[in-house]
């Protein structure tokens, strides 16, 4: 049981627990906190996978910006305990069981399937972090156009948010 395994299992458990808490919590703010927990744990896992930059971005953008936005909105709307109505029969009788089934199916397949094994072998020998420089070069050369496209997308999103949130007198 070496250090990476310990760390992996610690953070994996944290993530899963966070996800479960997200589901069971009745207070939106608790859900948000648990989601932040998941995200931080994932960031740590990214570090384990040697993706430092992504880990940082994950925390800065996801945990630091998006989730802050969520918390912000929750505070703004002062969202209280969620009421659990069950008007959608299909969600109750089909959605949930199938969701659980999906979970186990995916997990089982990924654990057992040949691809999973092959990739597991593929992981051997890869060590050391990805250099941020290489990543940035790929981002700004190979994926330059998508990058610009996303910038446009964000601009549009900002405008949309403005238009939506503006109270029309």
């Amino acid at each position: 049981m070496s250090l990476p395994f310990i760390l992996f299992f610690v953070f994996a458990i944290v993530a899963v627990v966070g996800a479960i808490l997200l589901i069971v919590a009745r207070e939106p703010i608790h859900s948000a906190l648990s989601l932040i927990m998941v995200m931080v744990a994932l960031a740590a896992l990214y570090l384990l996978l040697g993706a430092e930059f992504i880990a940082a971005v994950q925390i800065i953008v996801y945990a630091g910006a998006i989730m802050v936005l969520f918390v912000f909105v929750i505070m703004l709307l002062n969202a209280g305990v969620e009421e659990r109505t069950n008007w959608s029969k299909i969600a109750k009788y089909a959605g949930l069981p199938l969701g659980i089934f999906l979970l186990f199916e995916l997990a089982h397949w990924l654990a057992r399937s040949a691809i999973g094994a092959r990739i597991a072998n593929g992981s051997e020998g890869t060590n050391g972090a990805v250099s941020t420089r290489a990543l940035s070069e790929m981002l700004f050369q190979k994926y330059l156009f998508p990058f610009e496209a996303t910038s446009i997308l964000i601009l549009i999103a900002i405008l949309g948010a403005l238009v939506l949130a503006k109270r029309d007198e």
Binding site: F53, I59, G64, V68, V71, M75, T132
Partner: protein, 405 residues
């Protein structure tokens, strides 16, 4: 046991963390004293004076007071989050300091090599930003959980403020990153070695002066300090997000604030002021004695003070301090210590300077109105830092364009 043997890194880190925490806590404690003293003198008062000589024991007294006060929890509050918030704030604030290198990458202490940093991460700066960006939660959650209008508004305000100023903070730093081409603190510092015209140090503040201004301004806002300390604007909303907090939880917010100040100043030192680098060229070897000299000078002054001014118990306390200063000064003269002490000395010196600026602005400038704050952040600071970034980028790219068509 053998697990530890496998991982000596852990041990080293633990030791460093212990030292850092000890030093940091005292610094945080005495930062309040420092601040109160300076403000007092700026307003031509004495400031804390009676608890110990020159009020040197004031922080201790405050700490004890905080500890023994009753810890109130509003009944309507969300207990879990309410308790979580201050811890979050303080932990995050302190964690960042683990990334700050206080001295050269490798120094030799008593024959074996160490780094004067807890964690030398390859992309340290990004991590620092990552952690500081989480700092918002402390405030926001505190504001929300204590379930009171003042707190909520304060929390909302401060989180909004922090988010909006984080943008310009990051942007103003990017200019430096472009010039240095790395996220690693050590490289960031070492890339600032050398001198213009043989005596002006090659610090990033010279080419990035605008960036520095933007950085420092948004840093003040980021740490919710005057003149941007709206969240605890007493006039409109009592104590802001920590209105409902009392005793030690309140103290934690306090310490978190100071820790943030320290972090930000450290960052500014590293990015713009050449970190631990000495402002003087190495050939001026005499300057190596500067730390010792300054400490000894302090000791001398204190000694004079002790015997000229002090009476009774205060005289004894001050004598102890004098002795401490003298011992430290002499310690710095040891050939084993002298090279090691250079980096930290200059680092703390610059950091202290910046902290002094902090206090200075606080005691000088009036508080902004909220809309002023926001428009200042979005309409002035952000564009300026963006412009700075663009100009820097062009400055870097232009030669390439010229050369390679």
């Amino acid at each position: 046991m053998e697990f530890i043997a496998q991982h000596p890194v852990l041990v080293a880190s633990l030791v460093k963390i212990a030292i850092l925490m000890a030093v940091l806590m005292t610094i945080l404690a005495y930062l309040s004293w420092f601040e109160r003293k300076i403000i007092a003198h700026i307003q031509s008062r004495w400031g804390p004076y009676y608890v110990g000589a020159h009020g040197l024991l004031q922080p201790l007294a405050d700490g004890i007071k905080f500890l023994f006060k009753e810890d109130l929890t509003p009944p309507a509050s969300d207990k879990f989050v309410y308790t979580l918030a201050p811890f979050l704030a303080l932990t995050l604030a302190i964690t960042t300091l683990a990334l700050i290198p206080f001295g050269p990458a490798t120094v030799w202490i008593f024959g074996h090599e160490t780094h004067l940093v807890v964690a030398n991460v390859d992309i340290g700066l990004l991590f620092l930003f990552a952690i500081t960006s989480l700092g918002v939660y402390g405030v926001a959650l505190a504001g929300w959980s204590s379930n009171s209008k003042y707190s909520l508004l304060g929390g909302l305000r401060s989180s909004a403020q922090m988010i909006s100023y984080e943008v310009s903070l990051t942007l103003s730093v990017v200019g430096v990153l472009l010039l240095a081409g790395t996220f690693n603190f050590n490289e960031l510092v070492t890339s600032q070695q050398g001198y213009y015209l043989h005596f002006i140090p090659r610090w990033r503040i010279v080419p990035q002066f605008i960036g520095f201004l933007c950085y420092f301004t948004s840093a003040i806002a980021e740490t919710n300090r005057a003149p941007f300390d709206l969240p605890e604007g007493e006039q409109e909303l009592v104590g802001g997000f920590h209105t409902e907090y009392s005793s030690f939880k309140f103290a934690m917010f306090f310490m978190a604030e100071y820790a943030n100040m320290v972090t930000v100043s450290c960052l500014a030192t590293i990015l713009f002021l050449g970190g631990w680098l000495s402002p003087f060229p190495d050939r001026w070897t005499a300057m190596q004695y500067l730390p010792a000299a300054s400490l000894l000078a302090l000791a001398v002054y204190l000694a004079y003070d002790t015997f000229a001014q002090m009476r009774g118990i205060a005289r004894i306390q001050l004598a102890v301090v004098t002795a401490l200063a003298a011992v430290l000064g002499l310690l710095c003269l040891l050939p084993a210590v002298m090279p090691v002490i250079q980096g930290p000395f200059w680092f703390t010196f610059k950091m202290g300077l910046l902290l002094f600026f902090y206090v200075w602005t606080r005691s000088t400038l009036p508080r902004l109105r909220y809309d002023q704050l926001m428009s200042f952040g979005w309409k002035l600071l952000l564009p300026v830092s963006l412009l700075n970034l663009v100009v820097t980028a062009l400055w870097i790219v232009f030669p390439q364009l010229v050369n390679h068509g």
